[in-house]
Amino acid sequence: MSSISLRNITKRFGDFTAVSDLNLEIADGEFLALLGPSGCGKTTTMNMVAGIESASSGDLLFDGKPPTAKRIQDRGIGFVFQNYAIFTHMTVRENLAFSLTVKQRPQSEIDKRVNAMAKRMSIDHRLDQLSGKLSVNEMQKVAIARSAIAEPKVFLLDEPLSNLDASFRAYMRAELKILQHEFKQTMVYVTHDQIEAMSLADRIAIMDRGKLMQVGAPLDVYNNPANVFVAQFVGSPAINLLEGKLVTEGGNSSLHLNGGETISLPPTLAKNFAKSSTDRVVLGIRAQEVKAGSQNSANEVLVHGMVEVIERIGPVRVAHVHTPAGVVKCMQGVDATHVGEALTVSLPESSCLAFDAASGNRLNYMGH
């Protein structure tokens, strides 16, 4: 158990800056997800925490102190990779016992801990089988168990569920969360899958092109994104974004959407948009909040379009409404909607996020 501090960390590979001036405090026992698209610097950040890479500049502290132990294996760090790193020529039992055998723990203790961990991970029936004969799903369980059994202070996981099939992924998500509650280790979890980050982490750090975009609790970054990038990366389906030009005439504001349509803006939203650095703004709203048909309210934004695709995601239906300003996804009141139908969608003002198109920053952000 250990807290981790990254202070002004920068990592360069030649001319390329992989991580730029990163500041992040990870509390003792916290489950932190590093989330971002391929190439955002999340794995480089984790490799620096692991000691596999060293920072070009900045400080990395464990419990407020620089790492003293010279050798990586003495730092108490556990690792699980996307490609399950297990010894396929050894049995499950030998794999689990490996770190304890290396540390020359007494045999009775090894047996006890291996059996307990195998039972914990529901692989006790496989203990004496060759690891290479297991299914991909079980191999990843062995990899996680093999790291966890060493009781590292810090557990680093790099896309550990990416290679698993969808239904097993959902199961392992819940398992990992329960494991972390039991072990109370500090966990850093790298993923490009926002559903994994949302469901597992205490806090999510979202990165883009080497920069930290926002850190916060899952629902915090979902409900209150600091910028367009975070709004777009978190949440499923992806948030609707409508870009346009803000026009104010005689006290009334409207938005000239890209594509031609002009929509009038309710007062609070207009006030937020007015803070933009230029007249280019972006209106963001989650598909879950968009309603089919006008609600006859003064506090709604109406956009007209035609239903292009009906997408079925588990128990819900998402209507993709083609409008001059792009596709608006709508999830409320679309049970009987069909493809080809003309549809007006209503965006409630209270659910609309206002962004500055030039900087990407949120204009109605509730900062901390």
Partner: protein, 350 residues
């Protein structure tokens, strides 16, 4: 543009048999083939394409028997997960390759290239080499190469599985649009149920080399005919509870029980059964009511638009999906109320 039919198709491998399989895929349908890894779905695709000749049964395209016809004579295009692009050719050259091979004139190739690039929105990446493209861009070029041939059917084998999660969501809607706008027959293989359920007009669920059910996504989701279908579809999958329906209308599971309406039970068999209920068909309440049972919160997954709550009842883990955002404490004791309208009864598993 092609109607495909499989009749009694069987293919035997040393340790595994696919079939017998009967499938009718009409013209212009987006047909999904879904199943867990190594269930035989890719073999079915290869039989349709002609890469594999079945040991028994026949394959028809537009009513013509093509069972022993070689792949290049079937006029089908295949797109693989590992996009086979030529690394030394740019986007335009990769797309037009099949036409150059067939000796088309320069004007005709340029015209085709223009048509395909406007459909796929790839005009701006035609000059790039594959190494300079993003995963999504490479995928589009690979599709372009399939589209340019104007095949009768497109066979897609996990075409977007290697892409980032967010990009996958965009690409699957894009594929659906391409298929419906162009009136193409698409046969789409995937092990991601959410993906295939969101794009397919109809799909086949394949487990252990056999087709367990064919239907629209709604039919498969709401009326699974087999417990294996029920648990493969849905994320999280359907909860299965082993138990026993007794004579007084109570469902008894290990460590908990609840009552079922007697009129509802009138046409249901009594005795040992497996009850299936989807995570969204359980309500969470603070107080007990008729038909509810007590359960303990073990984990909460806040996903923004909805929340997934893992609960323990007896020794059973039950997943519940609720729309919107909710907070529950770990260890909190609450009452789960299953919706009888959405209960499925399966034969008890061995």
């Amino acid at each position: 543009m092609a109607k495909i039919s499989l009749q009694g198709v069987v293919k035997r491998y040393p340790t595994f048999t696919v079939g017998p399989i009967d499938l009718e895929i009409p013209d212009n349908e987006f047909f999904g083939i879904f199943g867990p890894p190594s269930c035989g779905k890719t073999s079915i695709l290869k039989i349709i394409l002609g890469l594999v000749v079945p040991d028994e049964g026949k394959v028809f395209v537009d009513g013509t028997d093509v069972t022993t016809l070689s792949p290049e004579k079937r006029n089908m295009a295949m797109v693989f997960q590992n996009l086979a692009l030529f690394p030394h050719l740019n986007g335009a050259q990769n797309i037009s390759f099949p036409l150059v091979e067939r000796g088309f004139s320069k004007e005709k190739i340029d015209k085709e290239l223009e048509r395909v690039s406007s459909v796929l929105h790839v005009g701006h990446i035609l000059h790039k080499m594959p190494a300079q493209m993003s995963g999504g861009e490479r995928q589009r070029i690979a599709l372009g190469r399939a589209f340019v041939r104007q095949p009768g059917a497109f066979l897609l084998d996990e075409p977007i599985a290697a892409l980032d999660a967010r990009l996958r969501e965009e690409m699957r809607v894009e594929l659906k649009r391409l298929q419906s706008e162009g009136n193409h027959t698409f046969i789409y293989v995937s092990h991601d149920e959410e993906e295939v359920m969101s794009v397919a007009d109809r799909l086949a669920i394949v487990v252990d080399g056999k087709v367990l059910q064919v239907g629209t996504p709604d039919e498969i989701y709401n009326r699974p005919n087999d417990v294996r279908v029920a648990t493969q579809i849905g994320s999280p999958p359907m909860n299965l509870i082993q138990g026993n329906v007794n004579g007084t209308g109570r469902f008894e599971a290990e460590g908990f029980e609840f009552s079922l309406p007697l009129d509802f039970l009138a046409d249901k068999p009594q005795g040992a059964t497996t009850l299936g209920i989807r995570p969204e068909n359980l309500a969470i309440g603070k107080n007990p009511q008729i038909g509810s049972f007590e359960a303990k919160v073990v984990a909460v997954e806040p996903l923004g638009g909805h929340t997934i709550v893992d609960m323990h009842a007896g020794k059973q883990t039950i997943k519940v999906r609720i729309a919107g955002q909710h907070s529950y404490q770990d260890g909190e004791r609450l009452y789960l109320h299953p919706d009888v309208q959405h209960m499925h009864f399966f034969k008890p598993s061995a």
